[in-house]
Symmetry: C2
Subunit: 222 residues, 2 copies
């Protein structure tokens, strides 16, 4: 594996980049990180040419071939680097992991954004309730297990843990505590953050909350 | 493979069900089809218990184990029944197929719906232009190839071909012809429909257009 050339084009506040970094760390794949400086005003030529459809980070380069979209990248990494697999072994287990991956990708981040991107009290309340309803199913499928697939931190855990960096901002503006509603899910967050592969790959929630405060100011919400 | 018990819970107008039927036909997997009678007013207990999160068809049952979400089902079929593979063999090719699958799943059907679900002329015009912009990228990645992955009808073709049953309704209400804009993509539709696995699995566009007329009447648009 030492001869593979792996680079990751990232932006530090993106939870989708963070989850790829967790996957690379879990699989012990060495890589070079290239930071996009300022996604809001000026996208690099490297980003525009390697992801012309979505123009979004992260982009992984494996021996100079670009792979886009974080969930797709992590699936690719698990196929191209078979050691330390992230997916369950059996086809049915893999289908369950993809099902929850899709659920997380479609719902969690937009639902969280809806909480902090308004100052209308009833909109905040509705957004908070919607977010908690989405979390209910994740709490249910986690159940009493340590991780989503059992006792091994894997694909679904990696996809969700990157997004949790934004959760304290949702709690702040939605005026709730996740652990009051779903203590098992909250314990999963603490348990996952205790892993070095996670804590060293994720941006601190404090820095993310400061980004949210800045974004709210930009949009006249504070 | 003869001993596998495969059932598919479907609804005849759903393009997401149709694509699974194409995949089953391409892979020559025998199955029993179970029709949901009327998704709009009454969902069956089988659907509600086997897909409690989304409550949507299609649901595949393999030896009684349910698998939900059409793209996930087709990926599962390709893993559980390795003969006649739908995915490219190499990890990079597979990542490209998943990238376009995600693009199709997120964009095509909602963009088409926006064309026929309004009677405001400027909204129709904007929706048509958006739909054509989405098709532009698909036309570009197809290029001069017979199928999306080359000369073999595969995963991306299957995901898109199911959705094309609704295209004549988009053309009717958007007042355009896809082939005037993207002749190669239109030729791909004709080429794909000439396959028995496709034509015998898909509901005729005429029946779909009649559904759209009915839906527009229900919403006071005709």
């Amino acid at each position: 594996m030492g001869k593979d050339d792996v680079k990751l084009l990232t932006m530090w506040a993106s939870p989708f980049c963070m989850r790829v970094k967790v996957a690379l760390a879990e699989k012990e794949i060495a890589y070079e990180e290239i930071q996009e400086n300022d996604l809001l005003t000026c996208k690099s030529d490297l980003l525009l040419t390697s992801n012309p459809v979505h123009k979004q980070v992260p982009v992984l380069f494996h021996d100079d071939k670009p792979i886009c979209e974080s969930t797709n990248i992590i699936t690719y990494l698990d196929e191209a680097f078979p050691a330390k697999p992230l997916f369950p072994e059996c086809a049915y287990g893999r289908s369950r992991a993809r099902f929850w991956a899709d659920y997380i990708d479609r719902k969690v981040h937009p639902a969280g954004r809806a909480i902090w991107s308004t100052k209308e009290k009833d909109e905040v309340e509705a957004a908070k309730n919607n977010f908690l309803e989405i979390m209910k199913y994740l709490d249910g499928t986690l159940g009493d297990k340590d991780y989503f697939n059992g006792d091994k931190f894997g694909f679904v855990d990696i996809l969700l843990i990157g997004l949790t960096t934004w959760f304290p901002a949702y709690e702040k503006y939605g005026d709730f505590k996740l652990e009051d509603h779903y203590p098992k899910l909250a314990a999963w967050i603490t348990r996952s953050w205790a892993r070095e592969t996670v804590s060293e790959s994720l941006t601190s929630p404090e820095k993310i909350t400061n980004i949210v405060i800045m974004l709210r100011k930009m949009h006249g919400l504070e």
